[in-house]
């Protein structure tokens, strides 16, 4: 049995009277689809921003927690870079000490110094005579009176060689070559401290890497949990959106923007924390370095590193949000 039909013409919202309605979704052109896509992104971005600004304190603290998680490994990494820079400058000052035979005359020692200074892998060579060596030793050791009792000067003359190339293999090769020179009793290269520093830096790098992994995981959990709460708060809205034809990507979009915005906020805060933190530390470091006669100072946050931090934070926020939405989207089927 059919329904009672009434064919009375009436005005329709955007439609023609007496004709079956044509859904507005039928046959959208490329331009309409592109416009829809752009408009949807713009709306989602603005809506996410509005929701974050609506709860400024909550949003700020979420960003702050994320910023702390970001600035810890980044700050340690920057400090390590500074220590590496410092270690590098010390390493460049590494010298090979050539102890000459006691019978070597000053003229022979001077000639040898000149020959060594002309070597391509030697930056400089300085000769310290036996008398200079004894004077220095008397002043520094505090054994001045006892040394005066000795019948002869027991110290050899020394040539201090500053190498051009500073890696360990080249230094060792140079040391062996110098040891074979005439009148050279012993060639000594002390690289133990460089190796120790290098080992400490490697350990530091590994520690920073591990800490980064841990804190990135924590950050993903923080952003994931924050987005999950946003999803829970908007559950009924999501159900309605799905019922009126919203796709999963339409539902997901504002949350992804929200995650990215949290990331940007956290990245900016972390940048600020690091810039102020390093500046604050720098005063103490400069004072300490000054006591050792060094003009060493901590570098700030290089703009490249700052931008990488910002981009990384944005991506982490986005990925954290994506993981959270992907996990919860299937639970958001209309009921």
């Amino acid at each position: 049995m059919s329904a009672t039909r009434n064919s009375q013409p009436a005005e329709r919202v955007g439609g023609s009277p007496n004709k079956p309605p044509k859904p507005v979704s039928d046959g959208p052109g490329f331009q309409q689809l592109l416009h829809a896509w752009v408009e949807s992104h713009r709306t989602s971005l603005l809506d996410s921003l509005r929701r974050l600004l609506k709860q400024p304190i909550g949003s700020f603290f979420t960003c702050l927690v994320m910023a702390i998680a970001l600035s810890l490994p980044m700050g340690l990494s920057l400090l390590l870079n500074n220590v590496e820079r410092l270690g590098g400058s010390w390493q460049r000052a590494a010298q090979i000490s050539l102890f000459l035979k006691l019978e070597a005359s000053p003229a022979e020692a001077q000639r040898l110094r000149d020959e060594i200074a002309q070597m391509s892998d030697v930056a400089a060579a300085d000769w310290i005579s036996r008398e200079q060596a004894l004077d220095e030793f008397q002043q520094l050791s505090g054994l001045g009176e006892a040394l005066k009792e000795l019948p002869d000067n027991p110290l050899p003359s020394v040539i201090l060689v500053t190498p051009e190339v500073v890696d360990k293999a080249n230094l060792e090769a140079l040391r062996l070559r110098l040891a074979e020179q005439p009148n050279v009793e012993q060639a000594q290269l002390d690289l133990v401290w460089v190796e120790r520093l290098s080992a400490i830096l490697k350990l530091g790098e590994r520690f920073v890497f591990g800490l980064t992994l841990l804190l990135v995981s924590a950050l993903l959990l923080v952003i994931g949990n924050t987005i999950r709460l946003h999803i829970e708060n908007r559950r009924s809205e999501i159900e309605v959106i799905k019922l009126v034809g919203g796709t999963d990507s339409y539902v997901r979009r504002p949350f992804l923007y929200m995650g990215a915005l949290y990331g940007v906020g956290a990245g900016l805060l972390a940048w600020l924390v690091l810039a102020f933190g390093l500046d604050w530390l720098n005063d103490a470091v400069v004072r300490l370095a000054g006591l050792y006669g060094s003009d060493f100072a901590l570098g700030g946050v290089p703009s490249g590193d700052g931008l990488s931090l910002l981009l990384g934070a944005l991506l982490l926020g986005y990925i954290g949000a994506w993981l959270a939405v992907a996990r919860h989207l299937s639970e958001l089927a209309p009921r």
Binding site: N6, Q8, S25, H35, D248, P334
Partner: protein, 222 residues
């Protein structure tokens, strides 16, 4: 428009929601689905909205088999359907205008077009002057009319309503039914699930009667 062919719905717990249901709805038709609680009215609507899938038989909506439709196709199917709920399902943190605009925003229409269509839909339900109000400021009847405006603003081919007058007094219920008839006159198929037999009888449209998931009556309400 809609074709049920031996459609069955059995839930994992063994409960049978629908039992070999067969009927057809023509384009532009107005019909009621009635029956007691648990008769299968809501299951039928949920199948049409692809919220659930039939476990047997064939269910075609505008030529599309809802038993085999992919998840990715479901949103596009729903864009051809308008749905009105007993509890309105309005978003209380959005204005009436933005509630009604939602399906058009999902379609990505230009702001100008959205404004034009939303105001027309609100005029149709006599709520144009409430566009900037929030649903919480409106009476239950007005909220239901906002729900109807949202359901028809994108000119769906099919309008589904689940107990749309369940919370309304008889005068408001009759008014809401009048709005549905207006929409139907424009060519939209209307399917209303209701157990208000007195109201259905007054409307004199086709009525499907369900009992324990089986179709036990198909005829004009009287």
């Amino acid at each position: 428009m809609i074709r049920f062919e031996q459609v069955g719905k059995r839930y994992p717990n063994g409960h049978v929601g629908l039992h070999e249901l067969s009927f057809r709805v023509r384009r532009g038709e107005f019909l009621f689905v009635t029956g007691h609680s648990g008769a299968g009215k809501s299951t039928l609507l949920r199948l049409l909205l692809a919220m659930e899938r039939p476990t047997s038989g064939k269910l075609l909506l505008a030529g599309q088999d809802l038993a085999t439709i992919t998840n990715a196709q479901i949103p596009f199917l729903r864009r051809q359907i308008g749905v009105v709920f007993q509890n309105h399902q309005l978003l209380f943190d959005r204005s009436v205008f933005n509630n009604v605009a939602l399906p058009l925003q999902i379609l990505g229409l230009a702001k100008v077009d959205i404004a034009k269509r939303v105001m027309s839909a609100l005029e149709r339900v006599s709520l144009a002057d409430k566009a900037e109000h929030y649903p919480g400021d409106l009476s239950t009847g007005q909220q239901q009319r906002v729900g109807i405006a949202r359901a028809v603003v994108h000119q769906p081919a099919l309008l589904l309503a689940d107990e749309p007058t369940g919370n309304l007094d008889p005068r408001l219920a009759a008014e809401i039914m009048g709005v549905f008839e207006d929409i139907n006159r424009l060519g939209t198929s209307v399917l209303i699930a209701s157990h208000d037999l007195a109201l259905i009888a007054r409307m004199r449209h086709r009525m499907l009667t369900l009992q324990r998931g089986r179709l036990i009556g198909d005829g004009e309400a009287s």
